[in-house]
């Protein structure tokens, strides 16, 4: 989704750095999030995604760098952006003995919303939990609890929603359901969404633009298609012959496959396990870091 022409960036981050002793958790991260886009930070565990996100949200103070959210400088007074952003933390459990609806009303009251009851209902609807409003949070399934956490991030109608690994630990079906919820928050309700994930497929499916993070730095930032385009290859062709396993990134799949087969016929070789896979973010990560991506 393109950035609206009439507005500045939703988020601007410059040279963001966080150290814990001698360990550098985030090292000079700069990025810009446009309004109304779904922006993903993709990377393996320990890459610095959550720390980056929490410095933008105002939860962790950076050692260096600037964060501006909708024109407001986040540091040193993160309270200035509280009503503009909604946050789902990576690990949030909620008050056990309140129902989903009661929790949402309470959080809406935290933001001094006079229409707390209406906000609670519409947030439940936005995440598809209408039928679970009377259930205690602790009695909801993992996927439902995540959706409730997202509803809590939406209850005060913020402009930007931060989701920290929203689908981690969910089964594939629950993950796809949550993708639909996130898409509708962005497309039907016009929210800017910033999420972190370590699932390549999730970043590719869900995000308008993706920043790939590895070892505290951003190594690439573009649309998923742009990142793959930059590989200068459309597909990965892999096969096995007497010389072992081969994998090549190629632009012209047809020519490559024909060449492999022609060469095999000419030399009397047998080619096995020939497969063609469209290049994806996994290949991007491999080419950028020289390492296989491990979720």
């Amino acid at each position: 989704m393109p950035a609206r022409m009439d507005a500045g960036a939703a988020i601007e981050v410059q040279g963001l750095t966080k150290r814990y002793g001698s360990h550098v958790a985030v090292d000079g991260v700069s990025l810009t999030v446009d309004r109304s886009e779904v922006f993903g930070i993709l990377g393996p565990n320990g890459a610095g995604k959550t720390t980056t996100l929490e410095m933008i949200e105002g939860l962790r103070e950076p050692d260096a760098g600037d964060v501006t959210v909708l024109g407001h400088s986040v540091w040193p007074d993160p309270r200035s952006i509280q009503t503009l952003i909604g946050v789902q933390l990576q690990t949030t459990s909620l008050f056990d003995m309140l129902t989903a609806r009661e929790l949402l009303v309470l959080f809406a009251r935290f933001y001094l919303r006079a229409d707390a009851d209406e906000r609670a209902e519409s947030s439940l609807a936005q995440v598809g939990l209408e039928s679970k409003g009377a259930d205690y949070a602790k009695n909801l399934s993992g996927g439902q609890q995540q959706r409730l956490a997202i509803a809590l991030a939406l209850v005060h109608d913020p402009e930007i929603v931060f989701l920290d690994e929203p689908t981690t630990g969910l089964d594939p079906q629950a993950r796809r359901n949550l993708w639909d919820v996130i898409r509708s928050i962005n497309q039907e309700h016009g929210k800017t969404v910033v999420l972190t994930t370590h699932y390549l497929e999730e970043a590719e499916e869900l995000c308008d633009r993706v920043a790939i993070m590895d070892e505290a730095r951003i190594v690439a930032l573009d649309t998923p298609a742009g990142l793959i385009e930059a590989l200068d290859a459309d597909a990965r062709v892999s096969y096995t012959d007497s010389g072992g396993d081969h994998a090549v990134y190629v632009r012209d799949v047809q020519a490559t496959v024909l060449e492999v087969l022609e060469r095999a016929r000419a030399s009397g070789e047998t080619v096995q396990n020939l497969s063609v896979k469209g290049a994806d973010l996994e290949d991007v990560f491999l080419s950028l870091t020289g390492r296989e991506y491990r979720e």
């Binding site: 509280q82 009503t83 933390l89 949030t92 459990s93 909620l94 008050f95 309470l106 009251r109």
Partner: protein, 362 residues
């Protein structure tokens, strides 16, 4: 960062909901004190029964007969008979009876009255001695035909003399307020921090002070309820006379609850996991329970225990509640207790604020 009354009210209601929905909380704050009170009342509460006394037969002379009749009319005393002195004394030795009474004729028409008691219950022996010697005196004086030269009346300096159960009830109320406040807040605070609830709250506009003010208000509501329900329980089940000044116990209860909430907050701030929180709470509250005159008067304890009691908040809470709810003393009389409790609150709150953490230890 401004206090908002509507938000504060909504947060307090949410906290009350959470408290009342947790059955274990209700058990510790109301049911457990009732059970404890009933057990202790059954074990120690019947101080109105002086005991059993067995009289060695035969009793034929006028003076001994008059004395046995006097004893039979003594409230709380059961008089039995046995065939002879040896049999009566054996019953006391065997622990079947509390005391044996033997009349030994001196030959001149008068008698020596011997009371055999066991040392296993010194207090009861003392009570029985008092009753028997009193009866002997009255019979002796009556035999002389003249009026007694000295008439004796015992007068208690308390406005109302307290039986054990009267003494116990305010102590139990104090104890239940302490348990609910300390353990309630310490465990909850640690749990909220460990599970990331405090971090999540930090992202919303409600100030921490307002959030915890709501929590404290909910706890005070529980404390007021404990006072009312447990006093009513004492009155209905044990027929305890509640003073007309009982309402003056409310400020004491509130000051005590604040003090123990501050203690719970301090523990919850220092400790890192819920199990340790429980353990530390117990290590602090259990000794206090026995050293503060909740179950037995501090005056009956060794001097060093009395000295320790003077620095324990529970001592002041129990005292203040006892003075107002069953002794009938006024609010001004317990102002000192309230002052001590509020001072302790201030110290503990200062410790909590210095040690408070939003984030779990990593």
């Amino acid at each position: 960062m401004r206090f908002n009354p509507g938000r504060f009210g909504a947060t307090t209601m949410a906290q009350l909901r959470m408290t009342f929905r947790r059955r274990i909380t209700l058990f510790w704050s109301l049911v457990f004190p009732m059970i404890l009170m009933t057990l202790l009342g059954l074990l120690f509460g019947r101080s109105v029964t002086a005991g059993d006394i067995v009289v060695a037969q035969p009793v034929t002379a006028a003076a001994p007969k008059a004395m046995v009749t006097a004893l039979e009319h003594t409230k709380g005393l059961t008089v039995k008979t046995s065939s002879d002195a040896a049999a009566a004394i054996k019953k006391v030795k065997d622990g079947d009876e509390d005391a044996a009474l033997v009349f030994a004729p001196k030959g001149d028409g008068s008698f020596t009255v011997r009371l055999y008691t066991s040392n296993t219950s010194a207090t009861q022996a003392g009570i029985l001695k008092g009753i028997v010697f009193g009866a002997a005196d009255r019979v002796s004086i009556a035999a002389t035909g003249g009026p007694p030269a000295l008439a004796f009346r015992a007068v208690s300096v308390d406005s109302a003399s307290l039986s054990y159960i009267d003494f116990l009830l305010p102590g139990i109320v104090a104890l239940s307020i302490m348990i609910s406040a300390v353990i309630g807040l310490a465990t909850v605070l640690v749990d909220w921090r460990q599970r990331g609830i405090l971090r999540r709250l930090k992202l919303t506009p409600i100030p921490l002070a307002e959030f915890f003010a709501a929590r404290i208000t909910a706890s005070l509501v529980v404390a007021v309820m404990q006072v009312v329900v447990l006093l009513a329980f004492g009155r209905i089940v044990f027929g305890i006379h509640i003073s007309s000044t009982w309402w003056a116990g409310m400020p004491v209860a509130i000051a005590g609850c604040l003090c123990f909430l501050a203690m719970g907050f301090a523990i919850g701030s220092v400790v890192s996991n819920p199990e340790t929180g429980d353990a530390v709470s117990n290590v602090i509250t259990n000794p206090m329970m026995f050293l503060s005159g909740v179950f037995f008067p501090v005056a009956a304890m060794p001097a060093f225990v009395q000295a320790i009691a003077q620095v324990l908040p529970l001592y002041y809470l129990a005292n203040g509640l006892r003075d107002t709810t069953v002794r009938g003393l006024s609010l001004t009389h317990v102002a000192g207790d309230i002052g001590v409790l509020l001072a302790a609150t201030a110290v503990l709150a200062a410790v909590s604020l210095r040690t408070f953490r939003w984030e779990p230890k990593t």
